[in-house]
Each structure stands twice: as C-alpha cells, then as structure tokens.
Subunit: 317 residues, 2 copies
DNA sequence: CGAAGTTGATTAATCGTTAAATCAAGTGGG
DNA sequence: CCCACTTGATTTAACGATTAATCAACTTCG
C-alpha cells in the first residue's frame, strides 16, 4: 500500500506537506501542490480512512438499524438511504435489530463501537431507542418529533378515507396489523378523523381481524381500509374465498404502494410514501446534527400521495 | 472516552500489559489480568476498533454489494448475511451497485477504501466483479465456481418441471424475466432438462412474454412456469383478465418462495432457496479466504426445495 | 553455586494521518 | 537598514491500540 510517507520521501518533502497538499488545508505553494497531486495520482494513492478517522475522530460512516427487512418497504428505505449517504461521501454500516428492544440497544452499541458518526434507526414497533454517544435520527415514527423523519401517516390515512368517502361509501371496516405499531395507529386515526360523521366504521386487528372481514362485509360493510398492502392482499384472498368481488361488491385499500400493489389483480388503491425524500431528509438532518447544527426540517412530516387504482369504486346499491 | 492508557495509569501498569491482559495474548499473571479486567469493566472500557484495525490491518468489516434491493429476495439475503456476520463478530458495510457494471466496480473500490476485509457481491446481471485488493465471494450466480455461493437454480428448475410433469401436464410455457440473467437461464435450462421427451414447451421472455401467455394458453398450454414469484403474480393477473382460472384451467408456478407466494390467491407453488444456509456459507467461505485458507464447500451449490401450494393441479381433460 | 530457563512485566516502535507549533527565508514599509 | 509580516515548509506530537524486543527477578538443575 502506498502511504503519504511514500509520496513524501519520493518527492523529498515532509509528510505533513503532502497531507496539506492533498487535503488543501495548510500552506503549500501552488507548484508543490501540483507536483504532489500528480505523483499521488501516478502511484495510485488512496488515503487510509482508518488512520484518518483515528486522528480526526470522524469515520464518515453512519449506522443503520432496521427492525425487520422482510417488510418490503424497508429495503427501499435502506437503498435510498444508501444512495443519499453515498452522494455525500458517507458509508452505511448495517445492523439488524430483530428480536427484542434489548437486542436493538445492543446493536446500537456495537455500531458505536465500530466508530459510526451517527445512527439512523427505524425503531422496533413501540420502542424508543436511546443512545447518547452519537447523534441519532429516527425514521418513520411520528411519536418523538425531536429528531424524527417520517411520512405523514395520519395524513395518508386521511387521503384514503376521504377518497372512500367521496365515492360514496358509508359503512367501512378498518384493518390494522398490530396495535403496538404507532405508525399503524397514526394511519388509522388519520382515517377516522377524515371520515364524515355519517360514516359507520369499526377497527379490526391482526389475524383475527383478517378472518372476520368477510363477516363484516356480509353484514353490510362496502369498503375495507387496511394499513398495509400486504394486509390488503391477504384480505383480498379472504374476500375471494368468500365470493365477494373486489371492487364490485367491496372496495379495498392498502398502504405504502409496494410493488405488488400495481401487479395484483385488481390493482390496488393505496397511498405512497416519498421514500427518497424521507431518506434524503434523514441523512440531511443527521449530518447536520453531527456537525452540531440544527436542521430546519427537523420534526416536520412528509406528505403522502394517494394512488387510485382498480380496487376501489362506488358501492353498489 | 476511556482508553487503554487510562486503565494503565489508573492501575499503575504499562499500556502493553493492559492490552495483553484484555486480549489474553502476552504473558500476564492471573491476578493482574483479573484486576485489569475488572477495572476495565468498571470504567466501561470499549476498545477503539479503529486504532486496533490500523495496527492489525483487519477491520472486522465485510462489504456487501447488491444490484437492486427492490428484488424482495435480496433483503432476505442481506438480513441473513448480517446475522451470520454478527454471529462471528463482523460488521457489514453496504454498497448499492445500481446502474452500470462500472458503477459496481466503483462501489467495490469505495468499500475497499473504507477498509473492508473482504467483499460479498451479488453481481449485476451478466457481470463478473473483479477486485484483487481483498478476498471476494460471489453470491447466487453459478457462472464462476471458484468463489461462488449459490442455490442450485438448475436443480430448482428441475424440481418444478418434474412436479408439473408428474401431475400430467404435456404442454407448458416457460416464462423468464430477462435473458441477460444467468440465474434465470440456469433455472430455465433446469426446467427443460427435467421435462420428459413427450412434453411440448417453449420459452417466452419479459413484458412481451407476459402479454403473450394468455394466447399460448388459448392455444393449448396447460401450465406456465415462471422464473420468479413476482412474474407469476403478473401472469396471474393476465390470466384472470383473460378469464382463465388458476389452477383449474392452467397451472402456474413461481420461484423463490417470497412472502407474497403464501398470501396471494390461489397460493403459489414455487421453489425455495435456503437463504440462511447460503448466507452462512458465504460468510464462512469469505472468512476462510481472509484467513488465507481454502474452504471445502467452495463451488458447491445448495439444493432448493419444492413448495407445492394451490396454483398447480392436474390438467383438466 | 553459577548457568540456563521461566515468568511477568516494561520499552519502544509502529500503523497512516492530521494539526499545532516552530522555523527559515523572503517581502515590504517606515 | 532593521523590524514586522507573510509564505512555504518542517518538526513534533498525537490518535489508541498491538507487538517484538528487552529486562529484572526468580526457579531450577547439574
């Protein structure tokens, strides 16, 4: 490996001068800078980030902790984060917080031990990660607004509910996956708050809820609003089994606009998060915190977008 | 931050002794080791991995490069790799090789610059990553057997084809996503080689292929074998639109056993990769290479498993 | 009892880079 | 012509660990 010292002795100058020339920091003459730069180029010099990090205390690496990569939305977030980080010359070290909240904190510690400058966390449902060794940005939970970047889940719920309400439904079922998830709670309360007074709605949860949906439709519900596309797909199976046609007999909506939403039959009405914007803002806010600055967008949620497809229509009378 | 030196002066011993006591390397008395260990514990000492890495030349970090996280199988691989790595005390730095093969090589370089000890690569379709600075393990492409860990895609194709053939189909359509992908080619050639002589089969590709499937069924095909679950879902939409019932009129199979396979309607017959085993072996082989050893399993593929669900049945006659 | 070996610790160098302090030489001004 | 200032480079120390070499103090044994 070719080091700064090699270049130095090579040109006959001190290591400090080489460092200064390459980083443009100290005082080096134009001419010397040029000579050093070109020699570095020739030798194929690549700075040793470990040594640099040891000295400066900054690794240029962010830790990313996700609860469960099987949720298809998270990989998209991870990818966008990775792109946003790379654009700023930062790397991303991943940690998996499967299992308990304790495990989550363990992973955070491990990442800090590895020298990350900051942490990006999509928290386990219902947990609030703590770490004071380095700055920390939380993604996608609206609960803690200090350092959180999140889609406006409640707003998204409202969009869906207004759509359903606008096209004439008056008796709807809301289905959530897990009441522990604050995200899902936000989505549901958004739905509820946006529905006009005259609409009858009730909330079901989890596997039991999925099993009960057909019953509710039989009892008069004309629309099923779920908190995830995957849940919607499962409901669709149940409805098909029970011989209820979507959207003719019952309208169905998802959440998150995953790839399957445009590919299932019928295609699914849902709301989309602007994942790219979330990732970008998360990195922006975190790097600002690392620099010790406050970021103006901290705590503001990002709007969601209604995507109307073929799984919703007027209720038949 | 509490360093080794702090502990040293604290106890009144040299830094080297502390290092030896903590790592268990040099010669330190039982008693002194105990004292040092407990003091380190008290102070909450955490070794600085950067400093250690600088000296030893090993960071304990592996680079992971994936082509496209939107493919839902990759996140599962990433997660399993992350778990397998963590179990061995290793970290994973991610890089996204979206775009060209050039980009892929850029990412590899960046990771090496950051000091990774080795690289795990799921290559872009049709590319073969090169990097001689550090050991490199390739995942899921059978093309280059030296340092490759892969499911037995051809074997998986054979499993599916044999199943279809066993239950009586004699006229099948094979549908691939992209002929550039060697994985998909392997799957398809596996299907073809396992089908009995008397079976008529033809291969379609991509969007045009999806559009043509219904036509082929109308012309007498009774089964559609695809190279991915997502593709199968799209085909299912087309078939439904064309009023062909699955599996009554036509059987349909996917590949990879993604979560949607068990949740769509009808549930999808497919083949599963043992992702955990692949991840584990990949890490195992890579760490062996890093230690400079050869691993006995290098180049052997891992068997796939047939998962029969409701999308396949006897052809109606 | 002296040579050789063992034990438990210390010293000093090093990994590659950065940064503050220092220094030599040239420049300009009064 | 001398003092103050600027420029361009060097020295030196440090970041936090590891490791080879060294050393003092005991053991052991012929």
């Amino acid at each position: 490996m070719v080091s700064i010292k090699k270049i130095a002795t090579d040109i006959g100058v001190s290591a400090a001068t080489v460092s200064n020339a390459l980083t443009g920091k100290g005082r080096v003459s134009e001419e010397m800078t040029a000579r050093i730069r070109s020699r570095a180029q020739e030798l194929g010099y690549r700075p040793n980030n470990l040594a640099r990090a040891l000295k400066t205390g900054q690794t240029g690496i962010l830790g990313l902790v996700m609860p469960d990569l099987t949720n298809p939305l998270f990989p998209r977030i991870a990818q966008m984060l990775s792109i946003a980080a790379e654009r700023r010359g930062l790397g991303i070290l991943i940690g998996d917080s499967r299992g308990s909240a304790d495990e989550q904190n363990e992973v955070l510690k491990r990442l800090v031990d590895r020298g990350v400058d900051g942490l990006l966390v999509v928290p386990q449902k219902g947990t609030s990660p703590e770490m004071n060794a380095v700055p920390l940005a939380i993604i996608n939970t609206a609960s803690d607004p200090r350092n959180t970047v999140s889609a406006d889940h409640a707003g998204g719920g409202a969009l869906i509910a207004r759509h359903i309400s606008d096209i004439g439904h008056r008796n709807v079922v809301i289905l959530g996956g897990d009441p522990v998830s604050e995200v899902q709670q936000d989505r549901i309360s958004g739905m509820q708050s946006a529905m006009r007074q005259e609409i009858r709605s009730s909330v079901l949860w989890g596997d039991a809820g999925v099993a009960e949906v057909a019953e509710r439709v039989r009892a008069g519900a004309t629309a099923v609003l779920t908190t995830s596309d995957l849940l919607a797909l499962r409901v669709h199976s149940e409805l098909t089994r029970a011989q209820f046609s979507v959207p003719r007999r019952v309208s169905l909506t998802g959440f998150d606009n995953m790839s399957l939403a445009s590919v299932m039959h019928p295609t699914l009405t849902t709301v989309a998060q602007d994942v790219e914007a979330i990732a970008d803002r998360a990195i922006e806010i975190l790097t600002a915190m690392i620099r010790g600055q406050a970021h103006p967008d901290t705590g503001r949620t990002l709007p969601m977008r209604l995507v109307v497809r073929n799984s919703t229509s007027n209720p038949e009378i």
